[in-house]
Symmetry: D2
Subunit: 364 residues, 4 copies
């Protein structure tokens, strides 16, 4: 951290600042310029001075401004950990490796038939992981709020029958154990990105975690939330961009596609994209899914419902199984165009046979 | 809700929409205009069709758009409850009544001496309620996170010694009982505004609640969060504007002062303002506090620390006890200018004796 | 437009509203429901009632809300004009047709050598249109502001020597004629999206126009700005997404990639993407360019500088000629993956010969 | 400006950066820390390196980040000019002095009768300056766009008859001369805040200027726009906060009341508030006007229309003459409560006689 004094700050003002810093256990490096004095703070855990301490120093007479010169996050930083993190979610499925991984399924688990029909359909189209909400956050108390633990059991059953891995959201500390018992990945939703107790409880559950970006979270705040999880010793963390809140009202959120290459640059964690929540409209899901892949996403999470006209939640943004099956070969082609593969060793079905996966034509 | 069909929608498209609505148990009212057909939905709990159902209907062939024509919230609406709600927080202190109520105290409870010194100082200046964080949400895991239950006990002690009422934040369902035991008001923070389990757990605790607006919550979403609490049967709810996230970087948040008169217009719930979090800088706290009062706020919540240069949290935005004592008479004068009183029957202290409260000069 | 009366609005309140509407020359259609009365307004140019008139009607006693039920824009709407607009910018270059069109060149025209070197390089890599600023909008008066008319002449010279088409920004009504004389496309910048005099002056110049989205413009406002141009009778209009202002500070703007498929859905106008201004950082330009193509963009506009370390403007976001040459084959591959072609009939150069354009492998 | 090198940057990387800076004519000050090297740039016009040059330096190998350590604006900065600027708009009216100044009048000048009726009414209530639009920026081409030069003449006539000063918006360089001829203050609207040609043309007209904040302008960008005007040598500049664009949709804009004390802290320029455009709804105008005054605004600009139900523009946000007359004494009381006077030496009328201006009771 650097502290800029005002033009003509008095010597006793400079001394007061230095003493306050040393009181905190840090050393200083003073550079008295022609115009102003600049005080540098030296120490390995200077992160703990950012925020409150820095702002407080700005209250001292003669101080113009404090300037952070190292990042606020550490464990999630690529500077700290140069190699890509690859998260093994079991069943041979790796997130953040060579292959793009697609997670798909209904917004809410509604009943066994709905879940199994969707699970088989998304598997046939190439998804590796089944998504499905058992606990649902709803902005209004007048909406369907999920089957709860019953939903978890149905997900486990679908895993058994299809061989897909399973991901579901956990909304409360008291549910972490149950979700960890049934699900392969613990999903932390956008509204809970700064629910710090939940972050830590999930971290300690020793399971892969998917952390969605908060609706109004900067990338720095997102990585600081990741820091809470990584600080528990659990490094199996996947980030998920799902749209941020802006003034635009046509879409529910604005997907920040640039977050994908930015995260790859500044962090070692894998990042996937959620175009379903990111747009809120089914007809925008495919273009934004392809855009995310083109920008380098390590995977996608997509809402699919066999009958969106009767979905209990998020019908407007769910793809039908048919539309999802049409999207998947395009995903493969775009992935190949940017040097990424999609494993399509699944058993083909009729809807899929006409596609000629680009990964066979030797591009990239 | 109204459903606008496209120009030239076919009769079978219209029929399909009507059947889907009737399937849900609602009646329709069809108006076939020259240019397009409009379908109205009739029923008292049409709120449950907003969001998912409405979006899903927009998937039907021939549908142009759905338009909600009643509000999504109900219990928090002034249409539903025309009289102002006045929340009795005990000790003769009413929020939402004639008198403006000021809550003040340190961001974090740090130790007994700090808390008591602050409590006596804010009482002397005219505050009625002591604020102080025992559980602290922190964006970074490298920051001080509060004394926890120890902090609650210190708050209770300060109440005993000063006679002030007490407010503190509850961050997790498992802490609701403990906080309710020690605190007169349960505060739900901005980051938890859509932590729906927490909203309900607090609602059921049968205590007055203060619900802060989320960083990126619209007023409608805020009232829908209030709805979760009101739906538990607990009507003792106070709203608190604390700034929203915008592109401006000079301040941590942008206080939406217009939310104060808007809430008074569309809801019966009292609303107070938090200029400390709303601005993040101590020198902006007083102007924004006065602005909030001028705009009609029912109260203020302000961070005060006897020694902000050594505060464990939020030092940058805390007023000193002296600055708080200087602010309070100005609050009284502005309150009087807009026809509102501040009770200043507290014992005066030296810092305060020079002020001549406007409430005695018969304005308004 | 629909007017919702309040519950229990009096008959004379309803009558007053109807009379005010009829005074404006429109007919009404009244639907008296059990709970409230709804008044519909009938007429072909109801657009002129939106905004002020609608807001004014909300002042009438007994009125709850007015609801627009047709779009505010008309000429730019796909409903009004179902076929895609294809803009012919001369020299056989069409924007909005089968082929993706790439515009590239320096932020500012600095001198003849710089411009020609860049022009030949971008042509060799596959660009069809040369961009270059002669008049530069700068947020600070202390920055380089362009060569002005001298720059226009250099652009014309570069066109002559390379055969590329030329696009440059016009910032003021008094420069429209000069820019139209030298440039094939008139570019209207984000800061001028609502400079209505400029919109009309450009419209009347009878040249193809590129209209960038304003920094904080909704899609609706953008199409209303387009409306100003189309209303002059000039239909040769291309839209350009260049990022919007959000709370995220890592990037200068947040590119709203979803605007691309949205514009394709609701408008007939072609839309291209500007990842250089959309991100402000050169290392994000390629991923966002590819994302835009994957989402269906009709073209790209990219800043390229032979020596960004000495660029007089926008150095941070400019690609080198080498990086641009590496990007172009990837653009072709992603375009092919989503069924779009890029014409690469240009003469190859060394940097390009190793790439195997996907358009030859028969995908899509 | 400070340049932080990466951990372990090579000596030749450091040298390359230093050479590039010296090439630009600046000296450097190198501080080789244990962990990283920091390069300071010394020179009085370092402002011209911000933005492009800084970003370009970040492209150099071994550079982590550049950090500006002096402000980007200069002439508008309080550091540069510690005394408050007081703008003399003629007729004895000063903006930025002891007294709060109120500007009021119709959104658009519609005809002589409407303008004169409003002018006399706002004068009677205590306004010193008449506002009225002759040239109107409209988001849609289907709306009323002002009387143009005819409107200017009516404003001049109203000035003659009432003795009020006059302010009106200028939208284009070619209209500056005409507006300067008829108006006492040139108003630059929010949409033109970065129309740099217009800023300079107005600056050169040698008239007081009112510069509104852009819809999505940061405070820094606003002061940089002010810099364009001040750099012409014209220091008679008033700033005006009129709301910024946020995600909230209840209001057209969100008034950033904190901008008022911030501008007072970092700049010497006076600042007034426009609650009419800042909220877009007439019933929010009075609370936000009072809030602005409580926060320290030097004045207000308010839309008043004798008959808002028939206003040609901005009817929804205009106060009636009666409501404006009710507001003015409250403005006086709040102003007095924060130590500010409002001159009310105007001839009283019936509506006003019951008020007892707080300025006589000796508060503060």
């Amino acid at each position: 951290m650097i502290i800029m004094m005002k033009y003509g700050a008095a010597q006793e003002e400079i001394t007061a600042v230095i003493e306050r810093i040393e009181e905190e256990g840090f050393k200083t490096h003073v550079s008295a310029g022609e115009q102003r004095t600049i005080i540098g703070i030296v120490g390995s855990d200077v992160q703990r001075l950012y925020g409150d301490f820095a702002g407080m120093i700005e209250r001292f007479p003669g101080v113009e401004q404090t300037i952070p010169i190292s990042k606020k996050y550490k464990l999630s930083s690529r500077e700290f950990h140069p190699q890509n993190t690859v998260v093994d979610v079991g069943g041979g499925v790796l997130v953040g490796g060579e292959e793009l991984v697609v997670m798909a399924g209904p917004c809410s688990v509604e009943n066994e038939a709905q879940l199994l029909e969707t699970a088989f359909a998304v598997k046939a189209a190439g998804a590796k992981i089944l998504r499905g909400g058992a606990f649902k956050p709803r902005t209004s108390p007048y909406q369907f709020r999920g089957l709860g633990r019953e939903g978890l059991k149905l997900l486990a059953k679908a895993r058994e029958e299809t061989g897909l891995r399973v991901i579901t959201e956990v909304m409360a500390v008291e549910d972490v154990e149950a979700v960890a018992q049934y699900s392969d990945i613990l999903q932390i939703g956008a509204r809970n990105m700064q629910n710090f107790q939940l972050l830590e409880a999930c971290g300690l559950a020793n399971k892969p975690i998917l952390l969605k970006r908060g609706l109004s979270a900067t990338i720095e705040e997102w990585l600081l939330a990741a820091e809470y999880i990584l600080a528990t010793g659990n490094g199996q963390l996947i980030l998920c961009e799902r749209g941020i809140r802006t003034f635009e009202t046509y879409t529910r959120n604005t997907m920040d596609i640039s977050a994908i290459p930015i995260i790859h640059k500044i962090s070692h964690l894998p990042i996937i994209a959620d175009p379903s929540h990111g747009t809120g409209k089914w007809y925008l899901v495919s273009p934004l899914a392809l855009a995310s892949v083109a920008a380098g996403a390590d995977g996608l999470i997509i809402e699919v419902h066999p009958n969106p006209d009767h979905a209990l939640s998020d019908g407007p943004q769910s793809l039908t199984c048919e539309n999802f099956a049409k999207l998947m070969p395009q995903v493969s082609w775009v992935a190949a165009a940017v040097g990424r593969a999609v494993d399509d060793s699944h058993e083909a079905d009729d809807r899929f046979s006409s596609s000629k996966p680009i990964s066979t034509v030797g591009l990239g």
